[in-house]
């Protein structure tokens, strides 16, 4: 016969105020198999736990029900407490009489009756609990970082410095992401390349880091500590083992196409490295525009290459490797403002450019060697309009959220224009100026001091008149229409997640929200983890943010990965499925419904009447099973069951509820 101890917590006045805890204890003493029931002010406190341990000895209890706050709060605490006693930590059930009872009801009698019912159900369930022991699974001490921007690089560097193997998978031919495109960074105005390229070189040279550029994640299997990731390596047509990156082929290549890295300003050859400081600084051939690969003409690069590193027959390769942890750092992209805002010219006017395009113009290593010129005629602009919140904070036409970094980088752009073009005028149309970081407000003040004119209002229309761009807007502070004739307009467009995030999230089994940002485990308490064990995230894939926050998150994600990879093996929850193979008919429907492919049909020796036969039965891989219980509800004979939530237990709970 079970000897159950019921411990009801007052939680100070949180519970005791609405629920008559003594009445609940009195009622609990009547339930079957209850040997002892008592109440205490703070059950989770040290004295509270000591009192429970004492009662276990005094009354020789063998299972515990604690009526307190939500099991999501202290189930772990009380399980750890039981580790120190003779009772198995899983012979414990928690009745939620705070969040789902005391706090949500006012009528004391009814709340007490509900608390009694919840305790009655927990007592019925704990009666059928069985001692469970955690099992352990080995951990592969390698990490995978998806995305080679500053977030991915920083995370990889920190993990590698801790001594673990890291692989960075980057879909572009070089790591660096968006940061390396920028010219200066706020608020210190130090040159972006000067602080990001050294990190890229470190990553490229770090003994523990393997760079997999022009690669994408094809398939992810397995579970925390034991991921098996298939990586698709797109054809590069250049053998990077032979190539030294001398650059001869790039100079000879006849094809010129707009450079993606430079946001379409300036061109690049078919065999190219995205930018001078690319890591790895070895070129790849773009199959869509290379004359040899498209029309089987030319082939100059193969002829000039001193090391015969060119291989036109290269194809996509798939490699599968094992990893213990995965960090998602897929970064952001700017929204396609042209579709959202036709009133700003919808992309017809070459001089209406995005912030990134301006970064390339003002960047010394950019296509214009840092001279701010109008992409249309190359003349230096005198009057520049910057339009903020293009796509951000706009429910009906764009994104509902604020993209956080544009206020600061627009101020930076204004600062750079006023610096580089003496006598120029910069008009910034804004709704609000948000300067949340350290030194951000002073930076904003300096920009205004430099002469940037902030106009409070939105730009309603931009159209070309002669070679001037007429920006019609409104100044809400003056309360009147404003028209600015500008030589160039910079749009601070909204950020959105990388295009393939839905595909990557699907493969990893993590969820993304309606704006396709990756959903973190808990917005305040677990910002760099996802719901899926072993998968972490950092940077703008989780939401718009600036570089300081991104780097901070990268370090946090790396710390989480190190905490995981530091152990040789990991405890797994024992609340997983198990099969009673004597009753299993081998129909295999549980195999179909398992989200983690944890169940397989195996041949086992068995008996049929008095004959020895080999039977086909289901078998659960305890490492893969995450304990969702879908199989237990699918099995008609109920022979696959979820430990901790067995059919018998839930039936008992339902019965207890309805006496």
């Amino acid at each position: 016969m079970a000897r159950i101890g019921v411990f009801i917590c007052h939680c100070g006045t949180n519970i005791a105020a609405t629920v008559d805890v003594e009445a609940v204890a009195a009622a609990a003493r009547e339930f079957p198999n209850v040997a002892f029931a008592t109440t205490y002010k703070y059950m989770c406190s040290e004295p509270g736990q000591a009192m429970i341990k004492e009662s276990i000895e005094d009354y020789n209890l063998d299972r515990i029900v604690i009526a307190s706050c939500s099991p999501r709060m202290h189930e772990l605490t009380f399980r750890k407490m039981l580790k120190g006693t003779k009772i198995n930590p899983y012979m414990l059930e928690i009745a939620n009489i705070r969040e789902q009872c005391a706090w949500v009801h006012t009528d004391r009698a009814k709340a007490t009756e509900k608390a009694i019912d919840h305790v009655k159900m927990a007592v019925a369930k704990v009666g059928k609990d069985k001692p469970l022991t955690t099992s352990t699974i080995p951990i592969t001490k390698r990490a995978l970082v998806i995305g080679g921007g500053i977030a991915g690089i920083q995370a990889a560097l920190d993990i590698a410095d801790a001594g673990f193997d890291v692989t960075i998978v980057e879909k572009e031919p070089s790591i660096g992401g968006h940061m390396v495109m920028l010219d200066k960074t706020f608020p210190t105005m130090d040159c972006s390349a000067c602080i990001s390229t050294p990190k890229m070189v470190d990553a490229g040279a770090h003994p523990n880091i393997t760079l997999k550029t022009s690669c994408e994640v094809e398939k992810v299997e397995g579970y925390v500590g034991n991921f098996e990731v298939t990586i698709k390596e797109k054809a590069k047509y250049v053998n990077h083992d032979l190539c030294t990156g001398c650059g001869l082929c790039q100079t000879k290549c006849p094809t010129k196409v707009p450079s993606e890295f430079n946001q379409g300003i300036g061109t690049r050859p078919a065999i190219y490295i995205p930018f001078a400081q690319a890591v790895p600084s070895k070129p790849v051939i773009d199959p869509t525009c290379c004359l040899k690969l498209t029309k089987d003409k030319c082939g100059i690069c193969e002829k000039v290459c001193p090391l015969q590193a060119i291989n036109y027959k290269d194809e996509t390769k798939y490699t599968t490797e094992k990893y213990g942890a995965i960090v998602v750092a897929t970064g952001y992209e700017l929204v396609d403002w042209a579709k959202m805002y036709p009133e700003y010219g919808g992309g017809k006017y070459a001089d209406v450019i995005t912030g990134l395009q301006f970064e390339r113009l003002v960047n010394a290593s950019g296509p214009t060697e840092g001279h701010i010129v109008r992409p249309s005629d190359g003349k230096e602009p005198k009057d520049v309009v910057i339009v903020k919140c293009v796509g951000s904070r706009d429910q009906n036409k764009g994104k509902s959220y604020c993209s956080r970094a544009c206020c600061m980088y627009s101020a930076k752009h204004a600062h750079q224009i006023l610096d580089k073009i003496p006598g120029s005028n910069v008009y910034i149309f804004y709704m609000d100026v948000r300067t949340p970081g350290k030194g951000y407000e002073e930076f904003y003040d300096n920009t205004r001091a430099d002469g940037a004119q902030y106009i409070r209002g939105r730009v309603s229309k931009i159209f070309k008149e002669g070679d001037k761009l007429i920006c019609k807007g409104e100044d809400t502070l003056l309360g009147k229409q404003v028209t600015v004739e500008a030589d160039m307009v910079i749009l601070a467009t909204a950020m959105e997640p990388a295009a393939n995030i839905a595909d990557v999230a699907g493969k990893l089994g993590i969820s993304i929200d309606s704006d396709r940002w990756v959903t973190e485990a808990h917005p305040k308490l677990r910002p760099v983890e996802t719901q899926t064990g072993g998968v972490f995230l950092c940077g703008t894939c989780q939401g718009p943010k600036d570089i300081p926050d991104t780097v901070a998150q990268a370090g946090a994600a790396a710390a989480k990965v190190m905490a995981l990879l530091n152990h040789d093996e990991m405890e797994t929850s024992p609340m997983i499925s198990s099969v009673d193979q004597t009753k299993c008919s081998g129909c295999g429907y549980c195999v179909e419904v398992c989200p983690y492919k944890a169940i397989s049909l195996i041949q086992v020796p068995g008996r049929d009447g008095n004959r020895k036969v080999t039977k086909t039965v289901a078998d659960v891989n305890s490492g893969l099973c995450q304990g969702c219980g879908c199989c237990a509800a699918t099995c008609r004979t109920g022979c696959i069951d979820l430990k901790g939530y067995t059919n018998e237990q839930i039936l008992k709970e339902v019965d207890a509820l309805c006496q």
Binding site: E30, F31, P32, K120, A124, T582, G609, N610, D655, A656, Q659
Partner: protein, 337 residues
């Protein structure tokens, strides 16, 4: 004594004042023995009921005792209360099955108190068959479809078919007939000429012969078609196996007894999963042997009354009468000891 057929309702009304009268009533397209009430339409003649009357004396589900755990715990037997009953209009084959059940539940030292209480308080009015079903073979099993020797009152249709002729055979019968003073008149001569259409030749010592046929190859052939369901046992008037289970409500609960069937796969399943009768061959052999041989050893009479319900209702169209003929005709091989 006799009474007009048309006075049947009157008779039942008077009896119903003191007893609960179970009569063959057609309701929801099913004829079964139910407590009589004004609105119910009784059908004396016609074929026998599908569900045998045994569930009046030996109910399908019967609560035995109630208990409560905890400080003021208790155990309290639940006794059937309104047991002053009349079983009105049961056929000779069902009467004979009640005799068999009496032997099981009331004799050989152990008396089943629940059955005994219901049986003592029950007065049985048997009714001679006027028409035999196509699967009735009670005559071949030594019964007379027109007469039930052990009934308290024997009722037959009169020769001219106008009235029902009563013949009280026990004091209970006398007492009952006395209650019908006003309605019944003397005389009347019963018509007892109903014959079974299905006649099978059963060997006289079939039970002894079967006792030697446990390993006989006949069993492989006969039992192949069985699908192992419990139909035959639940329509059979002489099957009396039961299982005991409990119904719990937190600290309270009750123990109840319910019909069980030897044809179910878990009937002889032992702890640990072993099963002395693993396949339907062993189970059907056990059922036939119990009906035709084992019961004789213990109580001296065959347990099959030839009512034909299992022959009519078996989903696989197996037929115990066919088996009886085959077993009677089978010659014993060397292996039969």
């Amino acid at each position: 004594m006799k009474f007009k057929k048309t006075d049947l309702n009157e008779v039942l009304k008077t009896l119903a004042r003191e007893y609960t009268v179970f009569a063959p009533i057609v309701e929801n397209e099913e004829k079964k023995f139910m407590p009589w009430a004004e609105s119910k339409d009784v059908e004396m003649e016609g074929l026998n009921t599908i569900k045998p009357p045994k569930d009046v004396l030996f109910p399908n589900v019967e609560k035995m005792y109630r208990y409560k755990m905890g400080l003021e715990g208790f155990i309290e037997e639940i006794f059937p209360e309104d047991t002053k009953r009349i079983l009105f209009g049961i056929r000779p084959c069902d009467m004979r099955s009640i005799d068999s059940m009496d032997k099981v539940f009331l004799t050989k030292e152990y008396v089943d108190s629940y059955y005994a209480k219901r049986r003592d308080d029950a007065t049985i009015v048997a009714f001679g068959c006027t028409e035999a079903g196509r699967t009735c073979f009670c005559e071949s099993m030594g019964l007379n479809p027109n007469d039930a020797p052990s009934a308290d009152v024997m009722m037959n249709v009169s020769a001219d078919g106008e009235d029902y002729v009563l013949e009280a055979r026990t004091e209970k019968g006398e007492e009952l007939v006395k209650k019908l003073e006003g309605l019944i008149t003397d005389g009347g001569e019963a018509k007892k000429d109903t014959k079974c259409s299905l006649v099978i030749n059963k060997a006289e010592d079939l039970d002894k012969k079967l006792a030697k046929m446990f390993e006989h190859p006949i069993w492989d052939k006969v039992t192949k078609g069985c699908i192992g369901c419990g139909t035959c046992t639940f329509v059979c008037p002489t099957c009396y196996c039961f299982d005991i289970d409990s119904e719990n409500y937190g600290a309270e609960g009750c123990k109840y007894r319910c019909w069980d069937s030897c044809m179910f796969s878990d009937y002889t399943r032992l702890a640990g999963g072993a099963n002395p009768r693993p396949t339907k061959k062993e189970r059907l052999r056990n059922r036939y042997m119990h009906k035709l041989s084992y019961f004789n050893e213990r109580y001296g009479e065959t347990l099959c009354v030839g009512c034909g319900r299992c022959v009519e209702k078996c989903p696989a169209h197996l037929d115990i009468s066919e088996f009886i003929e085959k077993a009677s005709a089978a010659e014993l091989g060397k292996e039969d000891k």
